[in-house]
């Protein structure tokens, strides 16, 4: 650290410490509380049911895919490798690769050193 760096560090710390903080506007807390209460009183049943149906569909499809993959893996282990079992395994592998790509495309989802 040279002399200039030593001068910069306290300056940077001081400026960072003096960054302004957000002040909520008048009535903000009461407005948000009222909205929260309104939301609580009107539970969005339709949205909840749709979410539950979507979740059930995802679980079913995943279970079906898993079952097919497992049986394809068993068949290939027994030496009865069919073109169908290979395509299932390829499909699963591409799903995993696609998932990895999607996760990598969102670098802000995790902040790591």
């Amino acid at each position: 650290m040279n002399q200039r760096d030593q001068q910069e560090e306290p300056l940077a710390d001081a400026v960072l410490a003096r960054l302004p903080e957000w002040q909520p506007p008048a009535g903000f807390a009461h407005r948000v509380a009222a909205l929260a209460m309104l939301e609580k009183d009107h539970t969005p049943w339709a949205a909840l049911v749709l979410r539950a149906l979507g979740l059930a569909a995802c679980v079913s499809i995943t279970a079906w895919l898993g079952g097919e993959t497992f049986s394809a893996a068993l068949r290939s282990a027994e030496g009865q490798q069919s073109p169908g079992s290979v395509s299932w395994m390829l499909a699963m592998a591409s799903l995993v690769v696609a998932w990895r790509c999607v996760r990598r495309a969102r670098p802000l989802s995790r902040i790591t050193s």
Partner: protein
């Protein structure tokens, strides 16, 4: 800057946590005034976290409202393992990240009006102008930092947030937060030298 020594006294902290626990209990029972009290206790902090992340003051009010609505929706799942303020700041951080993703992080290049609000420290006009120029230089340098250094550095500058709070917010180990803040400061020093050099070079042509 955040450090273990900067946090409020243990007694005050315990008192605040007790008050928060009582507010949570009343909110869960449907007490609207308790909800308003909870918002007013933590809105400044949540809003500041959002402002520092998205760098656009216009968005803060809406995003802060979204933060508290999300918090109230999942208040039942708040288990008290972390402080309520840390839990709310974590939600605020996630809301801000969602907004950054939604905007494709273009908000990164929006100028911050932060430097325009700091004129109450009694400096003379000339000193104030010099101080403002220095502050602008630091802001410009901070805004060039990668997000993974910029956010921990800015969060660590909040006195109420300790390294452990930031670690909870970002879902990373405390050691990693310290490393990110340390590297962020080192990088900031480099950028300050660059920004300073460019400013001087630009000034020479006037």
């Amino acid at each position: 800057m955040a450090s273990e020594g900067d946090v409020p006294t243990l007694e005050a902290q315990a008192h605040a946590e007790q008050a928060d626990a009582e507010l949570v209990r009343r909110c869960l029972a449907g007490d609207q005034s308790a909800c308003a009290r909870l918002v007013s206790r933590h809105a400044r902090m949540a809003g500041t976290v959002i402002w520092r992340a998205v760098r656009n003051r216009e968005l803060v009010e809406d995003l802060c409202q979204e933060t508290f609505l999300r918090a109230f929706r999942s208040l039942q799942s708040f288990d008290g393992r972390s402080r309520l303020s840390t839990w709310i700041c974590s939600i605020a951080h996630r809301v801000a990240l969602d907004e950054l993703r939604r905007q494709g992080r273009t908000v990164r290049f929006v100028a911050d009006e932060a430097g325009e609000q700091q004129s109450d420290d009694g400096l003379g006009l000339l000193d104030q102008i010099v101080a403002d120029e220095e502050a602008d230089r630091v802001h410009a340098a901070v805004n060039t930092l990668p997000e993974r250094y910029r956010l921990p550095l800015l969060y660590a500058a909040l006195q109420e947030l300790g390294y452990d709070d930031i670690a909870t917010m970002l879902a990373i180990p405390v050691g990693t937060v310290k490393t990110l803040v340390f590297r962020g400061k080192a990088l900031l020093r480099e950028r300050l030298a660059t920004v300073g050099g460019a400013a001087k070079a630009g000034g020479g042509h006037r």
